[in-house]
């Protein structure tokens, strides 16, 4: 075996360990942020869905990426304002769905964003606060009926849901460099809560 390939495979083994460690850190960080926001775990969306099988998989240029399901995952939380029996389907004014999109590499070109070399891109948690401001009394699933049928606004902006008048979305983001320890993370999340509360006109 060539020295180059020996080195490359050594680095792959190292990279897997690095990724496992990083992802473990992120899972724990997400839990910390969720508790800070007072939200509960609801669902997740894997943008990189693991292939169901290997048949004809070799024809796809996408196969390698799809085996990285944590990359660009959206973790969804809910924060009901009321005491309804079924907060996933029965929404009240002030209810929130929070989408945390883990952007470990903002320059990877996903979602029509510009590609950038890794040293020019960033590592972020993108937050999208979906607020039910004017419920119409209809039962409606947060994930299928609200989240999946929406478009993301730009960071810092508030937008109406494109098809549901009683819902609005606020976009924010935190750079992972600002979430290195408890004090920093707590401060960054608190500042984001203030921004989101002001934009949405309700406590977040």
């Amino acid at each position: 075996m060539s020295t180059s390939l020996t080195d490359a495979l050594l680095n792959v083994r190292t990279a897997y360990r690095l990724l496992a460690d990083y992802q473990q850190h992120l899972v724990e960080l997400l839990a910390f942020v969720r508790k800070e926001l007072g939200a509960t775990t609801y669902h997740q969306n894997y943008r990189n869905a693991v292939p169901r099988g290997f048949d004809r998989l070799e024809l796809s240029d996408d196969a390698g990426r799809r085996f990285l399901p944590f990359n660009d995952i959206s973790v969804l939380w809910i924060k009901p304002a009321g005491q309804q029996q079924d907060p996933i389907h029965q929404h009240e004014a002030g209810d929130l769905l929070i989408d945390v999109w883990v952007r470990s590499d903002t320059g990877n070109g996903l979602d029509k964003e510009p590609e950038a070399p890794v040293d020019k891109s960033a590592s972020e948690l993108r937050f999208y606060f979906y607020a039910c401001s004017d419920p119409d009394g209809e039962d409606r699933n947060w994930f299928y009926s609200v989240w999946r049928s929406s478009d993301y606004p730009r960071r810092g902006e508030l937008a109406a849901h494109k098809s549901l008048p009683g819902y609005k979305i606020y976009a924010d983001a935190l750079n992972l460099e600002d979430l290195g320890d408890k004090a920093s993370a707590r401060k960054a999340v608190a500042a984001m809560r203030e921004r989101a509360s002001a934009k949405l006109g309700q406590p977040v």
């Binding site: 460690d21 590609e115 290195g180 320890d181």
Partner: protein
């Protein structure tokens, strides 16, 4: 009984009808307390004393264990109280009030004060009792919260019969102190490791973390050269066009010999869970 409960053999345990999720089983929170503190009674004296030293760091150590009493029924004179555990040690008493959750403020000064008062009333606690509040703290690193709780307990005591020393500890800290004591005892593969394994199982059942939170600042910086995703994966529609990649075979033929070695240094897998064999 712990194994029976965890394996779903719960008839007669008072926990029948619950699933693996301990929150579904009435009274399950007491299993956590009993599992941990019952097993302290099986520790050799030197390991027990070492555990207390690691957990509490008392200037005046409590000594070794004479007896552990669970949920004694005491009275303040006005009402009954039921502390979770009383550890009667050779030098000091340790009154344990356990709350199930770490990271959730559940400890109440009034309750702690009533338990101290009742213990002194009935002559069941010596002066200079150690009041160990396990779990039920918003943040295990918040020393100010501990001071405030101590002052609040002080304020609730009708009179100072005996004085107390408050120690607020998380379930995680209890486990880590015990783990370090067992490891120091060099009991590789022995009964103490199995005892610790039992406690690890019940922690897992209750969703209690064994590890400290891993913050991103703890990530080891590695020298990794910029690398590209496989060609053809993303089609940028705006922004700068990335530099062209070197000629590559099609997706069906990417020989490993063409694999570019980025510069990485070795890092370790994260420790997934505590293991009886590690």
């Amino acid at each position: 009984m712990l194994t029976a409960v965890i394996q779903g053999k719960r008839r007669g345990t008072g926990l029948s009808g619950g699933g693996w999720d301990s929150s579904e089983a009435v009274g399950a929170e007491d299993i956590l307390t009993a599992t941990v503190f019952e097993r302290l009674g099986y520790l050799p004296d030197d390991v027990f004393a070492d555990f207390l030293d690691r957990l509490l760091g008392l200037d005046h150590p409590a000594g070794t264990l004479n007896e552990a009493e669970f949920w004694p029924m005491w009275s303040t004179g006005q009402r009954g109280v039921e502390p979770d555990v009383v550890l009667d040690c050779t030098e000091r008493d340790i009154l344990v009030e356990a709350k199930r959750r770490d990271g959730v403020p559940q400890q109440m000064a009034e309750q702690l004060a009533r338990e101290l008062t009742a213990g002194w009333n009935e002559g069941r606690l010596r002066p200079d009792t150690v009041l160990l509040a396990v779990g039920g703290h918003a943040d295990e690193d918040d020393a100010v919260w501990e001071l405030e709780l101590r002052d609040a307990v002080d304020a609730c005591l009708p009179r100072m019969d005996g004085g107390f020393e408050l120690a607020c500890r998380s379930w995680r800290q209890v486990f880590q102190a015990l783990r370090l004591s067992v490891e120091a005892a060099q009991d590789e593969g022995g009964p103490l490791r199995r005892l610790l394994g039992d406690i690890a199982k019940v922690y897992d059942w209750h969703g209690v973390r064994l590890q400290a939170m891993r913050w991103l600042d703890g990530l080891e910086p590695l020298e990794v050269r910029a690398a590209s995703f496989p060609r053809g994966l993303f089609a940028p529609d705006s922004g700068p066009v990335p530099p062209p990649m070197p000629e590559q075979p099609s997706a069906t033929l990417r020989p490993l010999s063409r694999f570019d070695p980025p510069a990485l240094t070795i890092s370790a897998f994260p420790k997934i869970t505590w293991s009886t064999t590690s």
